[in-house]
């Protein structure tokens, strides 16, 4: 049972994006309902759990120490033909424990006045009627199942990669095959690679359109070993088998705790994800980074923009599609433009041949070695210029 039948805002999905929206709007004095279909928020985790965008993660202020597994001091990339990149940077990122992080975010939202309901699955969102939308919610399961209806001036769907609600109301947020990654994350006991580094394998034959990662979780003494690559016709074998094979090749002694999977949108931000009295946030709006597949930080940032825009809309009584375009614009200006660039870079990386890829890695290697400054490119003047020109001409 809900406390009320009428809400200012209903947020669907209590992931990082949804929680930020719910909390910020509740804090601004609006009546907010946050729905989560699962029994426990954050479980099961469908994520590699690393992030290098601390500023965006800390949209609420400092993250609770319990949720942080590791402080990351650099990235190590095993590139093609033995060209490896060592990108040392103190405190560049963190490893999260999403089983604790997501509930913590939801708890903060609840503390600030949002009503959080779990085992609540939004089944249907209606058309706008008298300035509100109807949301039909299925509560509980089995014998205790019931259906409730609420009305909300604004519906925010942060319902993840499958975004059924987004598709139901007519937004084109389906995952298209060549711009979607499929991934697995294998939790292995113990720390496999350098403990304060994120380690990647990229540009090898079996993962030419993605990468393999190894992220250490110090406090839990486990490693997230996973992989993501594009859904293309080329890969006949499923990604779990490929990743397992690679894991046992590198670490024959590896002891596996459990395996999770998922798909990741790598299309870069959707062109349109708002309607009258409706908006998408996070994976549903393809807010994930198209090169790295990371989405926690950008979802939280988008959640903040969404809350800000909806708050302004509620204040002036205008939640039309035209008005909510402001939210899309804020996201695009903050990270969308950069995501478009990274998307192009990702396609470029997969388009060029092996020797060009190796050359590009040499350029990046020198870039990292000489302190990641623009002038670092001058250490490999010929290769750099050639790559810049190729990339500039690349239209794909």
């Amino acid at each position: 049972m809900f406390c009320s039948q009428e809400y200012d805002v209903v947020v669907i999905g209590a992931g990082p994006g949804g929680c930020v929206v719910a909390r910020n709007l509740a804090r601004a004095g609006h009546k907010v309902l946050l729905l989560e279909k699962r029994e426990k928020i954050g479980i099961p985790v469908r994520c590699g759990e690393a992030s290098t965008k601390l500023a965006d993660l800390q949209t609420y202020g400092p993250i609770d120490d319990d949720c942080i597994e590791t402080i990351i001091n650099g990235l190590y990339i095993y590139g093609p033909n033995g060209v490896n990149i060592d990108l040392a940077q103190k405190g560049t990122g963190i490893m999260l424990n999403r089983e604790k992080f997501d509930p913590w975010l939801a708890h903060l939202a609840e503390n600030d006045g949002a009503e959080v309901v779990t085992k609540a699955r939004a089944e249907f969102v209606g058309e706008v009627e008298k300035g509100a939308r109807l949301v039909r919610v299925k509560l509980g399961d089995g014998a205790g199942e019931s259906t409730e209806e609420v009305r909300a001036k604004m519906v925010v769907a942060a319902d993840g990669v499958e975004s059924r609600i987004g598709r139901l109301v007519g937004l084109d947020c389906v995952q298209k095959p060549n711009i979607t990654c499929t991934g697995v994350d294998i939790q292995v006991q113990g720390i496999l690679t350098r403990p304060d580094y994120l380690t990647f394998w990229q540009g090898h034959d079996f993962i030419n359109d993605g990468y393999i990662w190894s992220f250490p979780k110090i406090k839990s003494n486990v490693t997230n070993f996973g992989a993501g690559f594009r859904i293309t016709n080329k890969n006949d074998r499923n990604i779990l088998d490929v990743t397992m094979e690679w894991l046992y090749k590198l670490f024959p002694e590896a002891r596996i705790n459990h395996v999770v999977g998922g798909v990741i949108p790598v299309s870069s931000i959707l062109k349109e994800y708002t309607l009258d009295h409706f908006a998408l946030v996070g994976d549903a709006a393809h807010h994930t980074n198209p090169l790295t597949g990371g989405g926690i930080a950008s979802s939280m940032r988008a959640g903040r923009f969404c809350a800000q825009t909806v708050h302004e809309g509620l204040e002036c009584g205008n939640l039309s599609k035209e008005f909510l375009k402001l939210y899309e614009k804020r996201c695009y200006d903050y990270f969308g433009r950069w995501h478009d660039f990274e998307c192009k870079f990702g396609r470029f990386l997969h388009h060029i041949n092996k020797s060009e890829q190796t050359e590009l890695y040499h350029v990046l290697q020198n870039f990292a070695k000489h302190g990641c400054k623009k002038s670092s490119f001058l250490k490999t003047p010929v290769s750099s210029a050639k790559m810049f020109y190729k990339f500039w001409r690349f239209k794909g």
Partner: protein, 64 residues
């Protein structure tokens, strides 16, 4: 005629297939995957998206 078959034993319950299905023929209820065979157009996208290979398009005769 082909039919979509789901192997619950290897399924990771990630709902990745739900996201790629162009016809919304798939849905995840808790840990159960439901396939609406009337909506399914046998495009095979979900079989490629599945990280564990839990979904397969098989000949109807082989299944029966």
């Amino acid at each position: 005629m082909k039919i979509l078959v789901h192997d619950r034993g290897v399924c990771l319950e990630c709902a990745g297939c739900v996201g790629v299905c162009p016809k919304m023929a798939l849905d995840m209820y808790g840990l159960d995957l439901q396939i609406d065979l009337e909506k399914c157009v046998r495009c095979g996208l979900c079989t490629k998206a599945c990280p564990a290979g839990a979904l397969k398009l098989q000949e109807m005769n082989d299944v029966l």
